[in-house]
């Protein structure tokens, strides 16, 4: 059994438990069939990114649904690979002229080469009852050698997870990249349309949701009919800290999403909001009015070792950690309009970073990048800019298509999630590459706000 397969079985079990609300025992993984481990990587022509084709998977056995799954697996794998942009994917609607292989050993490599493919990702799927077995192989089209071979098996309840796992495997082995295919987003949504008890106004509540990074498998985390906003993943991916008004005022709660339990680290001291886990998961930076106005604090995850980082009568809010955990960037209006500032996690070396008309929601990229994305007021709306910490340069990645706010980095730093009204009045979550290209819509139901991206698997 390879580590990959073992990891997958664990994930499938966890996912089943979340979906059904009860643990299911997945079928034991099959022993590995692949003849050899990967040693070589796919290459493109003269330094260009490798061109890769992903035809529909072959049906190796199953029921009437299996052909649909075979098509789905290829499409999801294709979408995942396209989004990371490490490879040049050959559009799937151009494969029609190429004969469908009857087995993985009979691929028409000459024809794929004519189409310009450097690599060919071929797979099979075999469905048996509630279980599924998926094989994936990456061939070098020129040499016809297999560069990667994997087999995955488990519950058939979420076939997309198999494709995502394959995409992550391809990126890890072929591009030395931790892909985001199995990551999730958490965000706040008013889609349930519940209303809080109020005396005069209609007050729509918001609950915390999670979804796969591509928007599938959306699930509700909180059920308390109050405002639940500003979710933030723990670095182990097992907990979400957020701001909830469940006690009538903003306070920080941590939901352990796979256990269904909750922690309240602030112990009822003051009002607290906008929690952000440190990169090592041991500390939480947050905003609190406990000393009279909005200031930045850091506490251990259990609420101990409280440290105040700012002391100023102006507003200090919205902290985010540097990749090393040594610094915290935040928003302050101490010089007038809100700007992005940075301070050491020891409270020393305060300095201002931006000179915008109005800047908020700094979010520091993970390593190896050292950049801070933030929302900036551009006219009557907001756009997303990125500040390079090393040289102070700033670039803009959205340009007035609706408002664009609350950016959040993907765990590999190659993508951003953000809220935008670009498709209409409703606020929705979108993801894009770090250059602002390849924008994909993640939510469509209700209004959705303040995304945060889970760690990689």
């Amino acid at each position: 059994m390879t580590p990959t397969v073992r990891t997958f079985v664990f994930l499938a079990a966890a996912a089943s438990a979340v979906v059904a609300g009860r643990a299911q025992t997945p079928a034991p993984a099959q022993p590995p069939q692949q003849p050899s481990e990967v040693v070589s990587k796919i290459t493109g022509d003269s330094g260009a990114p490798p061109r890769i084709a992903v035809p529909d998977f072959l049906v190796a056995g199953g029921d009437k649904d299996t052909a649909e799954i075979a098509k789905l697996l290829a499409q999801v794998l294709y979408d995942d690979l396209t989004f990371e942009a490490e490879f040049d994917l050959i559009p799937r609607d151009t494969y029609a002229s190429i004969p469908v292989a009857r087995s993985l050993s009979e691929a028409p490599f000459d024809r794929w080469r004519e189409l310009g493919a450097d690599g060919l990702l071929m797979g099979t799927v075999n469905k048996s009852g509630q279980n599924i077995k998926v094989e994936i192989r990456l061939f070098d089209v020129r040499t016809r050698r297999q560069l990667l071979g994997r087999e995955y098996s488990g519950a058939a309840s979420n076939p997309r997870l198999y494709a995502h796992t394959m995409a992550d495997e391809v990126h890890l082995t072929q591009a030395n990249l931790k892909g985001v295919a199995r990551t999730k987003l958490t965000f706040s949504s008013d889609r349930v349309r519940d209303r809080a008890t109020a005396t005069i106004e209609q007050r729509n509540v918001k609950e915390i949701f999670i979804a796969d990074y591509d928007g599938f498998n959306q699930r509700r985390v909180t059920v308390n009919r109050q405002l639940n906003v500003f979710p933030s993943w723990s670095p182990d991916g097992r907990a979400i800290a957020y701001t909830s008004y469940r006690r009538g005022y903003p306070d920080i709660f941590i939901s352990l999403i796979y256990q269904g339990t909750m922690e309240t680290p602030t112990n009822g001291t003051g009002q607290n909001w906008l929690p952000a886990f440190s990169p090592d998961g041991t500390r939480i930076a947050f905003t609190s009015n406990r000393d009279g106005n909005s200031e930045i604090y850091v506490m251990n995850r259990d609420g101990s070792s409280l440290r105040r980082l700012t002391t100023h009568p102006a507003i200090d809010s919205t902290p985010t950690w540097s990749p090393s955990g040594a610094q915290v960037a935040f928003t302050s209006d101490r010089t007038g309009a809100p700007q992005i500032w940075v301070v050491g996690a020891d409270g020393l070396n305060l300095r201002r970073l931006t000179s915008e008309s109005y800047a908020d929601r700094p979010t520091w990229s993970p390593a190896p990048y050292n950049e801070i994305a933030f929302s900036v007021r551009t006219g009557s709306r907001f756009d997303i800019k990125i500040y390079q910490v090393d040289n102070g340069a700033t670039r803009q990645i959205t340009f007035g298509e609706g408002t664009n706010e609350s950016p959040a980095w993907a765990p590999n730093g190659k993508h951003l999630a953000f809220m935008s009204t670009r498709t209409g009045r409703a606020s929705q979550i979108f993801i894009a590459r770090r250059d602002g290209k390849d924008v994909r819509q993640v939510t469509r139901d209700g209004n959705n706000f303040t995304p945060n991206w889970s760690p990689a698997q």
Binding site: T199, Q271, R361, E405
Partner: protein, 196 residues
């Protein structure tokens, strides 16, 4: 329920009066509640031993009636009705500002009077913003607005521990519109009476 308790109290008072009158060996009136026993004794013969001390008041003795607020219409309302009619009108702010305007101060002076008159009321001061700021910054801006209103009320003599603040940022607009008129209504400190 309230009426029933009052009736029970009246019956109890009547019975006690009857008992007291019996002790003083007077023939009590029977058709209406008797005057208090002590008064009966004072009016009677000096040689008659003093009647026993009146029994302690029953639990529902309507003491609170004497402390009813000067405006009985407000006092009789439940919290929902009270808040719906809003004796503490909201105050409004300029864009990105938490400074109280002259109008807002005048408004709060009136609210301070209402709060002094109704000295038992507990109030939550909610800070709200319009939709044009970010959700994150607006949470702090709304807090500043609530604190501005509270601080002024306290300076006018309202006890600080009667005023709780909470910011909702731009989460609960009063007017769902997207124009200047709606935004002006949404940049506000809003008062909710939570106990009276």
């Amino acid at each position: 329920m309230q009426r029933m308790r009052t009736w029970t109290t009246m019956v109890a008072v009547t019975m006690m009066a009857v008992a007291g009158a019996s002790c003083s060996k007077k023939t009590p009136p029977v058709v209406r509640p008797a005057p208090p026993p002590a008064a009966t004794a004072d009016a009677g013969m000096g040689s008659t031993p003093a009647p026993p001390a009146p029994p302690p008041p029953v639990r529902d003795e309507p003491v609170s009636v004497a402390l009813a607020p000067p405006d009985p219409a407000i006092g009789s309302k439940n919290l929902d009705d009270l808040n719906r009619e809003s004796p503490l009108a909201p105050v409004f702010f300029a864009l990105d500002s938490y400074e109280l305007s002259a109008d807002a101060r005048t408004q709060l002076q009136g609210s301070a009077q209402v709060l002094k008159t109704n000295a038992t009321w507990q109030v939550t001061v909610e800070g709200h913003c319009d939709e044009r700021g970010t959700a994150e910054y607006n949470l702090s801006l709304g807090e500043r607005r609530a604190l501005s209103a509270k601080a002024y009320l306290v300076s006018l003599g309202v006890a600080a521990d009667r005023l709780r603040t909470v910011s909702y940022g731009k989460e609960f607009p009063f007017d769902p519109g997207h124009d200047d008129a709606a935004w002006a209504k949404n940049r506000r400190a809003h008062f909710v009476i939570t106990a009276k």
